[in-house]
Amino acid sequence: MSLASGTFNQSYAQDIAILRTRTQRVILLAFLALLFTCPLFLNDIWLHIMIMIGISVISAHGLNILTGYCGQISMGHAAFMAVGGFTSAILCTKVGFSFWAALPCAALFAGLVGLVFGLPSLRIKGFYLIMATISAYFIISWLVHFQLTDLTGGVFGLPAPKPEIFGTVLRSKASYYYLVMIMACLATVVAINIVRSRVGRAFIAIRDNDLAAEVMGINIWAYKLLAFFIGCVFAGVAGSLLAHYYAWASIELFPFIDSVWYLGMLIVGGMGNTTGAILGAVAFRLLDYLVIILAPIIARDFPAVGPQASASLSLIIRGLVIIVFLIFEPRGLAHGWGLIKAYFRLWPFSH
C-alpha cells in the first residue's frame, strides 16, 4: 500500500501498523465517536437499520474470509448463521446459560458444523462447492424444521432471551445497538488482522492457485478447513446476535436467499477486501430501506403492479444492483473508495 507523500517507514513497527498517519487516526476516532453517539439522535427505524448493518457486517466479514480471501464459495452462509442463532437460543432457554456464555458456544458450534460441511472442499472447488454448500443449507434447515424439533421447536422456533448485563436487560434498541456495534468493531479488527497474517496470506495463495500453493508447502487441507471454521464462527456470532435481537430463533430469520444476499454484499463491496465487506453490508441494508420507502409509492402510481410490488421489487432491485456491479465494476465499492483515498493521498499533485 502506498503511503501519503512525505510519510516514510522508519521502523518495522511503523511498517506493520494499520494506522500510519495522524489524519487516519483522527478520522477513525471521529468515525468511532459518531458511531457510538448515534443512538442519541437517531430514531428507532434508523437504529433498527444500523443494528441490521452491524449484524450483516459481522456475517459479511466471515463470508469474505471464506469466499473473498480463500476462494471457497459458500451458499450455505444463512445455514451457519442459523446454527449459531439456534445454538445460543437453545443454550439460553433450555440449558440456562447466560447470553455471554452462549455466544462463544454458538460461535464455536457454528464453526464446527462449518468444518463438517467444509470437508467436501478438500476434493472439490468452484461450482461443486456451491452445490455442496447449497445442500448444506437444505440439510441443516431440514434438521431444524423436522428432526430436532424437541430442541429447536420446529416450525415455531423458540425464544431467545435478550442479553443481560449487570442485572439490566438490554431491552431497548439503543442498548442492543451498542452491543452489536462493539461486536462489529471487534469482528472488523479480527478480520483485518487475520487476513494480514500468515494465515491470511496462505488463504490468498490458495484462492489464486491452490495447486501452486500446495507445491509451495502450504497445507491446503488444514487451511481450507480453517477458512471454513473462521468464516462460520463469524456467521455463528452474527446469527446469535440476530436471534437475540428478535428475541426469537426461527428458521424464517435465516432464509436461503440471505446466503445469496451475503454473496451480493461481497460483490457490491468488493470481494477479498475487508473495507469492501463493510461497504457492501451498509449498501445492501440501505438498499433494503430504499425499497421499503419506494415500494408503496410505486404500488400507488402503478396500480396494475398491485400488492406484491414490495416483495418483487426488493428482489429485482437487489438483483439488478448485483448484476450492474458484476458488469461495470467487478472490483466493487472498495475500489472506488481506494481511488478517492489515493486522490487525497497525492493531493495537490494528482500525477
Binding site: G71, W142, V215, Q308, A311
Partner: protein, 296 residues
C-alpha cells in the same frame, strides 16, 4: 411388489423431468463453460408461461406448447445478450454469481411481479385419468411427459448430428479457440445454448405444472436437478438422462421406505441434496463425466 413398481413409475416420471432440466444445464456448460444456477428458476418461469397460454389464453395443448417454446427462445436470447455476454472471459465465480443473481432475484422477482407469486394449477387442461396396466396406475401426465421428453431428446440428437449449427456447437464444446479459428461464430453458439436450455427448462416447467401446479417453490426442483447433473457427470448429456431417472426413482423410494424411519419425515424433499453430498465426496466427476486433470 405392486407398490414398488408403482413407486418406480412415479420416480421415472419425476426423473424424466429432472433429466430435461439437467440437459439444459449441461448444454450451457459444454458450450460456454458457464454454470447456470438459474436453471431451476427458468423451469419455474416456464410453468407460469404454460399457465398463461393454457389456462389464461385457453389455447389447445399443442398451440400452447409452441407458443411457450417461442417465448422460451426469446427469454434465452435476452438472458444471454443482456447478462451473460458481458461476462465472457470473466472468472468462473463472477459468471456463477451472475446466474445466481439472475435466478434468485430477477426471475423470482418477475414471477412475483407478473403472476403474483401465487399457486396456480392447470386443472382440467391436461387429462388426469390414469392408464391402468394390471395392478399399476400410470398417470396421464407421466405418459405426456414421456412422449414430450422423447421428442425433445430426439430433436436435440438429430440437431447435434445433422444441423450445421449443431455441429458448430459440438465443435465449440470441444475447443473454443479452434472453433473460432475455423470460422464458427462462438457468440451465436453461446446464444443458441441458452435458447436450447430455456426451451428444455420451459418444457420441464410445463410438465411439472401439469402434474402439481406452479408456485415460486418450483424453483427448488431446479436445485434438486443439480443432484442429477452431478451424478451424471457435468458434461454428459446421456449421463443426465440416466442419472435423472436414478435420482427420481431414489427420491420416490426414499419417500416411501425411508421416511417412516425418521421422526417427522420430509426426507424425500432433501434426499437429492444428500445424493449431492455423497456424490461430491465419493466421485466428484459423476458417473459419466470427464475426470478433471489439473496442471499448474
Amino acid at each position: 411388489m405392486t407398490q414398488f413398481l408403482q413407486l418406480g413409475i412415479i420416480g421415472v416420471s419425476l426423473g424424466i423431468v429432472y433429466a430435461l432440466i439437467a440437459i439444459g444445464f449441461v448444454i450451457i456448460l459444454k458450450c460456454s463453460q458457464a454454470f447456470n444456477i438459474a436453471q431451476g428458476h427458468i423451469v419455474m418461469i416456464g410453468g407460469y408461461i404454460g399457465f398463461t397460454f393454457l389456462v389464461m389464453g385457453g389455447l389447445p395443448l399443442w398451440a400452447a406448447l409452441l407458443a411457450a417454446i417461442a417465448t422460451a427462445m426469446l427469454m434465452g436470447l435476452l438472458i444471454e445478450r443482456l447478462c451473460l455476454r458481458p461476462m465472457v472471459g470473466q472468472p468462473v465465480l463472477a459468471v456463477v454469481m451472475m446466474t445466481i443473481a439472475l435466478g434468485f432475484s430477477i426471475l423470482e422477482g418477475l414471477a412475483i411481479l407478473i403472476w403474483g407469486g401465487q399457486y396456480k394449477t392447470y386443472s382440467g387442461v391436461i387429462p388426469t385419468e390414469p392408464i391402468r396396466l394390471g395392478e399399476i396406475y400410470i398417470p396421464a401426465a407421466t405418459v405426456i411427459a414421456l412422449i414430450l421428453a422423447a421428442i425433445v431428446v430426439a430433436v436435440l440428437m438429430l440437431f447435434f448430428r445433422y444441423a450445421k449449427i449443431g455441429l458448430a456447437m459440438r465443435a465449440t464444446a470441444e475447443d473454443e479457440q479452434v472453433a473460432q479459428a475455423a470460422g464458427i461464430r462462438v457468440t451465436t453458439v453461446y446464444a443458441l445454448s441458452w435458447i436450447i436450455a430455456c426451451v428444455t427448462g420451459v418444457v420441464a416447467g410445463i410438465l411439472l405444472g401439469g402434474e402439481a401446479g406452479v408456485s415460486p417453490y418450483l424453483a427448488d426442483i431446479g436445485l434438486k436437478a443439480f443432484a442429477v447433473v452431478l451424478l451424471g457427470g457435468l458434461n454428459s448429456i446421456g449421463g443426465a438422462i440416466v442419472a435423472g431417472i436414478m435420482v427420481g426413482v431414489a427420491e420416490s423410494m426414499a419417500a416411501a421406505y425411508l421416511d417412516p424411519l425418521t421422526t417427522r419425515g420430509g426426507l424425500a424433499t432433501i434426499f437429492p441434496f444428500i445424493i449431492i453430498i455423497i456424490v461430491l465426496v465419493i466421485r466428484p466427476y459423476g458417473l459419466f463425466g470427464t475426470r478433471r486433470i489439473e496442471r499448474i
